[in-house]
């Protein structure tokens, strides 16, 4: 888990983004995704073994990827603390959703999620030529939608009663931002 500077793909103030889907870190991914607190918000309702990621990573086909993953590395502590990336990249409509997990609990609530998401959003707009970027989360995941608001995203849709959490249905929120809006917002954040 040593931070190897050689792999840094995007560098921020406190964080670096490294290439994701690292076959040497499968145990780390499995630890985060099975973690009871993390999966409560992410709604991972089924257990997952490290081998499952291996299979999935090795399945990746040629062509332009439909999803992208980065590991989030804390620069000062030289520690990998979570992952961030794009799910469902739609190349012809030029949009995608951001997904993120800060898997190490002691790094939560420190605005590191905001920095990681800002870095990946800037990459999406400036390098991947995206037109619109969104993210979705459940209403119970207050930390996550507060991050979306700090990033200048708007709550576009409230999907009523979409997930069964702790014995009741909860709403899902969909947030989004367009490139024109991001051009202004990035000056504050990066």
């Amino acid at each position: 888990m040593e931070h190897e500077d050689i792999r840094t793909f995007i560098s921020g103030k406190n964080l670096d983004l490294l290439p994701g889907n690292n076959l040497e870190h499968l145990n780390l991914y499995a630890k985060w995704d099975n973690d009871q607190e993390t999966r409560h918000y992410a709604r991972n309702v089924f257990p997952i073994l490290p081998e499952a990621y291996k299979k999935w990573i090795e399945e990746v086909k040629s062509g332009t990827p439909r999803e992208l993953n980065f590991e989030i590395c804390h620069k000062a502590d030289k520690k990998i603390i979570g992952y961030v990336g794009f799910n469902h990249i739609n190349w012809s409509d030029r949009n995608a959703d951001i997904g993120m997990v800060i898997g190490e609990p002691e790094y939560r609530s420190k605005d590191l999620g905001t920095e990681a998401a800002a870095l990946v959003m800037d990459y999406g707009f400036n390098e991947l030529n995206m037109f619109k970027i969104g993210c979705g989360m459940y209403e119970i995941n207050v930390g996550s939608w507060k991050v979306a608001e700090k990033l200048g995203m708007h709550r576009e849709i409230v999907y009523k009663e979409t997930a069964w959490v702790d014995g009741k249905y909860v709403d899902a929120y969909e947030y989004c931002i367009f490139y024109d809006e991001w051009k202004e917002k990035r000056k504050e954040l990066l």
């Binding site: 012809s92 619109k132 576009e156 849709i157 999907y159 009523k160 009663e161 069964w164 249905y169 367009f178």
Partner: protein, 198 residues
């Protein structure tokens, strides 16, 4: 209309329909591998594919793979039917549920009348009513939803007539014919469906 449909490609010979859900004008039948060429024709159709937001060509082989029985022991996350016109005895489209989430008990409803001659005859409305009944009464869904792109006025008018509620609008999310378009997101909760039953 009959002539057009009687070509070898579109008219299945001596085909017996096995209705799974019976309606008045149409039945919903299991999909049929003998009709894959027909499905390929519909999905690639230049008019229909715009409304289905499909901008990639699909081969008969691709489509065969979708409809081949799976050997997996897990429960599928979609259910597809062929829409069968009872009087004319021809398949006219497909419909079903995709992205079924068996835990949250919701699913995306989809429908496509592949033969343009059967558009604007309320067949979509009938198919969607049969599906909604099936979703709530047989599959025990809690919520059924659909995203319909703004220019597809026919579809979202049907959805509103059926009692779907506009949940929100995703702005400029689909690029079709040189422009970005909005997607209208609709929902029907089981409790709302029960209230509206005659």
């Amino acid at each position: 209309m009959k002539e057009k449909l009687s070509s070898e490609e579109t008219k299945p010979k001596e085909y017996v329909a096995y209705p799974f859900i019976e309606g008045e004008t149409i039945d919903l039948c299991p999909t049929n591998l003998d009709h894959v060429k027909l499905y390929a024709k519909w999905i690639n159709d230049s008019k229909a594919r715009i409304y289905a937001r499909n901008n990639q060509p699909h081969t008969v082989e691709d489509i065969t793979k979708w409809y081949e029985p799976s050997e997996s022991r897990s429960l599928s996350n979609y259910v597809t039917f062929e829409i069968w016109h009872k009087k004319d005895k021809v398949p006219i489209g497909t419909c079903g549920f995709g992205r079924i989430n068996w835990i949250d008990r919701d699913a995306n409803i989809f429908m496509s009348i592949g033969v343009p001659e059967y558009w604007n005859q309320n067949l979509g409305t009938e198919a969607s009513r049969l599906l909604i009944d099936y979703g709530f009464k047989d599959l025990n869904f809690h919520k059924i939803y659909a995203g319909i792109f703004e220019p597809n006025i026919g579809s979202w008018t049907v959805a509103e007539k059926d009692g779907f509620i506009l949940e929100g609008i995703k702005k400029k999310v689909i690029f079709v014919d040189g422009k970005y378009h909005d997607s209208r997101e609709y929902r029907m909760l089981k409790k709302d469906w029960l209230k509206n039953l005659p």
